[in-house]
């Protein structure tokens, strides 16, 4: 049974279409991540779900009931949800008053409020900050106040808009821990917008990719990251190798793709003659100095054209008749002594290749 259903939402700001026919259903207790680049419409969709904005067209269903476009019922439904905005907006009041306000607005008893607020402040690790003015806190602390302020309401639905954007890694980890704790302990339904794919992967049960106002693909993390539906999604989820090719042979679910004269074995059931994109995640490409025996079907002799250090990893661009990007650990890059011009063997499995149909344009 879905708790929140979004049906045919279309929304415009001025003349620009921000959301184009969004259909989405999120179940009770489910953690759903909306991923997409900045400006894709994630915030707008969350605002519409939180009933802060009325969509140009389409309906929102909460617990099976269609929400009217105006009126008192919207406040009642909104009080069953809570929205953590991207930039934490703390009120110019004490931390205690910030966290207590939602309960006060719901007319709760004073001593119950005091008990709940103390409890939640302890949970987010701000118990010593009760009387501090919330405006004097750091970004990470302010975000924790914002989180506490929402969690104290024990919402049925928690909406999070980039909850860790602009936070340092330590604060980010704290917030992520809190989110997953609440998801597990309270079975709270969550819809979370993020442009950080690993965060979506780590916290969510299901992921939706929002690109340019369209919900292009929904599925679990493996679906999205290994089998993107089209080139756009592939690009966004970090498929750095997206190479045009044509299927030249197909047999028993194993196809051969011709990429500029090189034959690649892939797992695919597309027919011969199909124009496709061959997608290979850079971390699935292994590099070795000599041709090794392995079960991987694809191995190419190639030359390193560029090495870029990405902290603990190194991004290695090679030429094996076509351009390929491999991601290896910095240590193995050093062990192999990878430099521009080094001869290496690039190897990847047929199952590590994802094929996307190229649309005739």
């Amino acid at each position: 049974m879905s708790l929140i259903e979004v049906a045919g939402i279309i929304h415009r700001y001025n003349e620009r279409a921000v959301l184009q026919n969004i259909n989405l259903s999120v179940g009770k207790g489910e953690v759903f991540a909306l991923i997409g680049p900045t400006g894709a419409g994630k915030t707008t969709l969350l605002r519409i779900i939180d009933l802060l904005e009325v969509p140009g067209a389409g309906e929102i269903y909460f617990d099976g009931k269609c929400i009217p476009r105006s009126g008192k019922q919207r406040l009642e439904i909104r009080r069953r949800m809570s929205f953590i905005h991207q930039k934490p907006q703390v009120f110019n009041l004490s931390v205690y008053d910030n966290v207590a306000c939602g309960l006060r607005w719901r007319g709760e008893q004073k001593n119950r409020i005091a008990k709940e607020v103390d409890h939640i402040l302890e949970m987010v690790g701000l118990e010593g900050y009760k009387n501090r003015n919330a405006r004097t806190l750091s970004g990470g602390e302010a975000q924790r106040v914002a989180l506490a302020r929402s969690l104290v309401l024990e919402p049925e639905v928690l909406l999070l808009d980039e909850p860790t954007a602009n936070l340092d890694p330590v604060s980010t980890e704290k917030i992520e821990q809190l989110i997953s704790y609440v998801a597990r302990q309270r079975n709270t339904t969550m819809i979370m917008a993020t442009h950080d794919m690993s965060q979506g992967q780590q916290l969510a049960d299901r992921i939706g990719v929002l690109l340019d106002g369209r919900l292009v693909q929904t599925g679990n993390a493996t679906d999205i990251f290994r089998s993107p539906q089209n080139e756009e999604v592939a690009n966004f989820v970090g498929m750095e190798n997206i190479i045009e090719g044509v299927i030249i042979a197909s047999n028993d679910g194993i196809a051969t793709v011709n990429i500029g004269g090189n034959a690649i074995q892939v797992v695919s059931s597309y027919p011969v003659g199909k124009e496709v994109y061959t997608c290979i995640r850079p971390e699935d490409v292994t590099l070795a100095l000599s041709s090794t025996q392995s079960s991987a079907r694809n191995s190419f002799q190639s030359k390193v054209t560029r090495v870029t250090s990405l902290g603990p990893l190194s991004k290695v661009e090679i030429n094996c008749g076509f351009r390929l990007i491999a991601l290896v650990t910095k240590i193995s890059a050093e062990d192999l002594n990878l430099q521009v011009g080094t001869d290496v063997y690039a190897t990847f499995k047929a199952t590590g290749v994802h094929i996307i149909e190229r649309e005739a344009s």
């Binding site: 907006q89 009120f91 110019n92 009041l93 306000c101 939602g102 607005w105 914002a146 929402s150």
Partner: protein, 227 residues
């Protein structure tokens, strides 16, 4: 020389707690204070109403309010005089040349100022704060109250300004109060009278007392702000 005389006289009057001067100062304070309080009670809700509602002509209304900042005090005085005079539409109240008439005049005088600055104080609170309150489940009224609290320093500044304009104006107080000794004489009208009588030192002394009062009020309000 007269400035020096004025200064010493002011100190003398203050130290000796001269009964007449104290009475005049007290009247100034209570009339301006009442005006300011009543105007705030009207203008804070009204300003919130204007700020939080979108309607046709909102910009024009705000421009008009801002234009009225410059309203001459004598013009307000004239208007209230016509309104409250025996033959006027509200003449039956019989309050002309009594403190209530002065309060009405001052409310009219400072309301545009209060309204304008309250609206701008509320505009200073970001849209995100309003959204945050709404999504935390605040009703319309609760949101307004929160935003007023967020803007409390600016709102208090608006009220302070209104009070300052009320206690320092002379035109309206003179026209609708009449500067009647022991009844409607306030510091500003007393200064005008003493100056025209030639008692420059007393006039200056009263002026200094007025500023001294303003200083005390400001210190009190500043204390309130720092809380």
């Amino acid at each position: 020389m007269e400035i020096w005389d004025g200064l010493t006289k002011a100190i003398q009057l203050l130290i000796s707690l001269d009964p007449e001067v104290m009475q005049i100062a007290g009247r100034s304070l209570s009339i301006a204070g009442t005006s300011c309080l009543l105007a705030s009670l009207i203008c804070i809700p009204l300003g919130s109403l204007i700020h939080f509602h979108q309607f046709r002509g909102k910009r024009a209304l705000i421009s008009t309010i801002q234009t009225l900042f410059a309203m001459p005090t004598v013009l307000v005085g004239l208007f209230v005089l016509v309104l409250l005079s025996r033959a006027g539409p509200l003449g039956f109240f019989g309050i002309l040349f009594k403190p209530p008439a002065m309060v009405i005049g001052q409310i009219l005088l400072i309301s545009p100022l209060l309204l304008g600055f309250i609206i701008s104080a509320l505009s200073g609170v970001s849209k995100e704060i309003v959204d945050t309150a709404t999504s935390l489940g605040a009703s319309g009224f609760q949101t307004v109250w929160l935003v007023l609290r967020e803007a409390r320093y600016a709102v208090l500044a608006a009220v302070t300004m209104g009070f300052a304009r009320a206690i320092s104006e002379v035109g309206c107080a003179l026209m609708v109060g009449g500067n009647i000794k022991g009844a409607t004489r306030v510091i500003t009208t007393a200064i005008a009278l003493e100056a025209s009588k030639g008692d420059i030192a007393l006039a200056i002394a009263l002026g200094i007392i007025l500023l001294f009062l303003a200083l005390i009020i400001n210190i009190v309000l500043n204390r309130l702000q720092q809380r």
